[in-house]
């Protein structure tokens, strides 16, 4: 790939944020070059300025956010000097973009075919009939099953992966020289993500486009990147070829990011002595019925089908599977946020699957949950102290005692005691997740269920929280059920893993076995789809 002349180069770009923003410049003196036929990955944690750089190239910066310095040179001209009309002509034709959220990036009221046709219309190309035909061709090219039908569909009738393919079809319609992809796979589950990455890679090679790929996931970088640029606080801290950056990161920040990535290699399960099970689940079923009235049929989803599990004292069981496979449903049945249709959930010998009212309230303390969203899981109008103390108080602990316990727990999860008097919004995501953990511990449970407890966190913070959990588990002798779609995370923390697919557990076993010797075909696809896995395996030898 010896190409000398960049198709696009960003020179000393600085983008100012409006007054009152969290910092003065979204992008600060950034220089980058993008060559034809390469995939340049921009990585960095949330808020580091990745999207802003991309938007600036398209001339699609939000109101009040404007470039104050630098140039974006594309084919000998500075894009920042272009008028809106000139930019309009370039957009879609020379520069195309796809976005993170396939759910919202398509107009919900327009048929897919019309939305693709618009690209031609915008540049006054082809007749309406030809445009429709081209739309179907493009859809075929991006590998949508039954493209003719998909063309007539509305976005909501397509799955997330399919929508992202539509977005790509749209971006490729006029064979642009540059494709900017802003986290196009973040919202997709692993298997779909793998497919989309492959698609982008294929198309890029076929057409020799330049692709600027924005992501925060180093797995994805490993999978797809030719070159990498790492951003932090609006600055580029490191650039280089993918191999160079991944294998030999120069900048401390890059090193930190890479170090925080959970390793896939699950540790050889420590040969523990068999402990008695604390939680036994047998033949659990849960079916959702939604909608439906006098005349219309309800939508029926069999979310949990005949699930049986055992959890030993002190053990961590991972439940993995793609989105919609029923992981959360199982978790919610276990803690009785939901009543299962059938089956038993024995917690220390007592079946709590069908308890009601006061009895249920009484046993609740023994099984607690840590939630996914650190923002939604804390009442914004309650102080941290109260949030933690409320549980014990509901179980009859005196107020003083409960607050004392809260203070101890805060210390335990690594927060200052003074946190008790503050409100959730004064904390970062990672800190909040610690509060959530403290709250779960406040009732001194035997079992904790963590549903995607780290999915919403940046990698580096993810690592901290995972460490904390592992540590606490050890110290308090907790049994943990860890629900996640991220196999890397599962590999890092779990003793045993259960793989779910369409409501059923297709395979259970020690983590090491699952990753290295998957028995089930589905488990294998799941593991194959993990981004960056090959590279890692290669590195591991």
């Amino acid at each position: 790939m010896a190409i000398t002349e960049p198709v696009l180069s960003i020179e000393n770009l600085t983008i100012a944020l409006p007054e009152g923003a969290d910092r003065a410049f979204a992008v600060d003196d950034v220089s980058l070059q993008l060559f034809a036929g390469e995939i340049l990955c921009i990585v960095g944690e949330s808020g580091s300025g990745k999207s802003m750089s991309a938007n600036a190239m398209m001339g699609l910066l939000p109101d009040l956010v404007r470039p104050v310095n630098g140039r974006i040179v594309f084919g000998a001209v500075d894009l920042l000097d272009k008028t809106e009309a000139e930019l309009m002509d370039l957009r879609g034709r020379k520069l195309a973009m796809i976005f993170q959220e396939p759910m919202s990036a398509l107009n919900p009221l327009m048929r897919v075919e019309d939305q693709i046709a618009e690209v031609f219309e915008a540049h006054r190309l082809l007749t309406p009939k030809e445009r429709a035909a081209r739309a179907v061709e493009l859809l075929t090219e991006v590998g949508i099953p039954d493209p003719a039908k998909a063309a007539k569909a509305y976005p909501f009738q397509l799955s997330g992966g399919q929508r992202q393919r539509v977005m790509i079809a749209m971006a490729l319609a006029l064979e642009p020289e540059i494709l900017i992809a802003d986290e196009p796979t973040t919202a997709l589950d692993v298997t779909t993500q793998a497919q989309i990455l492959e698609l982008i890679r294929d198309l890029q090679q076929k057409r020799g486009m330049a692709v600027m790929f924005i992501t925060h996931d180093f797995g994805v970088v490993a999978e797809i990147a030719d070159r990498v640029a790492v951003m932090q606080f609006g600055k580029i801290v490191e650039t280089g070829t993918a191999d160079a950056v991944l294998d030999d990161p120069q900048h401390a920040y890059t090193r930190k990011l890479i170090a925080a990535i959970p390793r896939l290699v699950a540790g050889q399960a420590p040969t523990r002595k068999e402990k008695p099970p604390v939680l036994e689940v047998e033949n659990l079923f849960k079916t959702y019925r939604t909608g439906g009235g006098l005349f219309s049929k309800p939508r029926v989803v069999e979310a949990v089908k005949d699930v049986s599990l055992q959890l030993a004292e002190g053990e961590t069981l991972g439940i993995v599977g793609e989105s919609g496979s029923g992981k959360s449903s199982v978790g919610r049945c276990l803690v009785r946020l939901m009543e299962p249709d059938r089956g038993t959930v024995r917690l220390a010998g007592q079946d709590m699957a069908h308890l009601k009212g006061e009895h249920l309230r009484a046993v609740r303390g023994s099984i607690q949950m840590i939630f996914q969203d650190p923002y939604a899981s804390l009442n914004p109008r309650a102080k941290i102290g109260r949030i933690i103390a409320e549980g014990p108080m509901a179980h009859g602990v005196s107020r003083r005692e409960a607050y004392k316990r809260a203070a101890r727990l805060l210390e335990l999860v690594g927060l200052d005691v003074s946190a008790a008097d503050r409100y959730p919004h004064e904390f970062s995501g990672g800190q909040r997740q610690r509060v959530g953990i403290a709250r779960a511990l406040a009732l001194e449970p035997r079992v904790i269920i963590a549903d995607e407890a780290v999915s919403a966190l940046d990698v580096s913070i993810q690592a901290q929280v995972l460490d904390l959990l592992a540590d606490l588990k050890e110290r308090l002798d907790l049994a943990l059920i860890f629900i996640t779609h991220d196999l890397r995370v599962a590999a890092q923390i779990c003793d045993r893993i259960a793989v779910m697919h369409q409501g059923e557990i297709v395979e259970t076993g020690p983590a090491h076995d699952i990753f290295n010797r998957p028995q089930n075909a589905y488990t294998r696809t799941l593991i194959d789809a993990i981004p960056g896995r090959e590279k890692e395996l290669a590195a591991a030898g």
């Binding site: 803690v335 946020l337 099984i367 939604a376 109008r381 309650a382 549980g391 509901a394 709250r439």
Partner: protein, 279 residues
């Protein structure tokens, strides 16, 4: 809190609204001091035009009563009815909405059908009927306004509760063994407060308009000098005395405008993420 004030005071309209409302409140409170005599008192010859006598700058009405005094006392009535009827509507709407949203299922169905039912009856017509039937007095007017204005509250609260209900912190509270009552009271309702406050400020405005409309139709409390009453009474003499309907109309306009501006300001300040909705 200070953050709230900063955002609120950045909104120019809201500040104007606060100023106007403050004046109205002040006038209402000070009415008995400014005009020690009853606004019903016939003080001068009828139909004295504005500015023709220093003592009665806004003139007199058909019976020679001081229009300015009437406006001052009218402010009392409007604000009182606006605030009390809104409070009453909230007292009905919040529990209904909260129960429907929190418990869902059959309770939700029943309560929402009930709410829908009240929304199907044309509300102004219903208010008229209610007031006429229970005879126009301040209680029946307040009750009627409350009865026609609680459904939006119930819907709003239900919607909020419905979305809060599945918030993780509510689920955490369920898991920690708190009772439903505690959860609704401590976890859910406090978080519906901002939209309720915004809605309430707009409801006060609507209630004032409703009261004045009722009074205009002759369905006001005959013992209270209200702005709507003044306009209604002046309607038949609008040709010879435009000022009798003009000034109270302006008073209503300004007060309602102020409340709307404040409502918008509150909305922007309390729910920065919630987009403005024209209500």
């Amino acid at each position: 809190m200070s953050d709230f004030w900063k955002r609120f005071s950045r909104n120019r309209g809201a500040v104007i609204g606060v100023v106007i409302l403050a004046v109205v409140v002040l006038v209402a409170v000070l009415a008995p001091v400014l005009f020690p005599q009853s606004p019903w008192r016939m003080v001068q010859r009828p139909f004295l035009p504005p500015l023709s006598m220093d003592q009665y700058p806004l003139g007199t009405d058909a019976l020679g009563r001081d229009v300015l005094a009437g406006l001052a006392y009218g402010a009392q009535v409007s604000l009182l009815i606006g605030v009390v009827s809104t409070a009453a509507a909230l007292l009905v709407g919040i529990p209904i909405g909260a129960l429907a949203g929190y418990f869902g299922g059959v309770a939700d169905d029943v309560l929402m059908r009930f709410t829908e039912f009240f929304q199907t009856v044309p509300s102004f017509a219903l208010a008229i009927v209610l007031v006429a039937i229970f005879e126009p007095n301040i209680q029946s007017i307040i009750a009627a306004i409350a009865i026609v204005s609680w459904p939006p509250v119930a819907r709003l609260v239900r919607g909020e509760v419905l979305s809060l209900r599945s918030r993780e912190y509510v689920e955490a509270a369920i898991l920690s063994g708190q009772t439903s009552a505690t959860i609704i009271w401590r976890q859910v309702l406090p978080n519906t407060l901002s939209p309720i406050i915004v809605l309430a400020s707009l409801m006060v405005a609507t209630a004032i308009l409703l009261e004045s409309s009722l009074s205009f139709l002759g369905l006001g409390d005959p013992n209270l000098m209200s702005w709507g009453y003044m306009i209604g009474a002046a309607r038949t003499v609008i040709r010879q005395a435009w000022w009798l309907s003009f000034f109270p109309g302006v008073a209503i306009l300004l007060t309602v405008l102020a409340l709307n501006l404040i409502g918008e300001g509150l909305n922007d300040a309390l729910n920065p993420s919630l987009a403005r909705r024209g209500r």
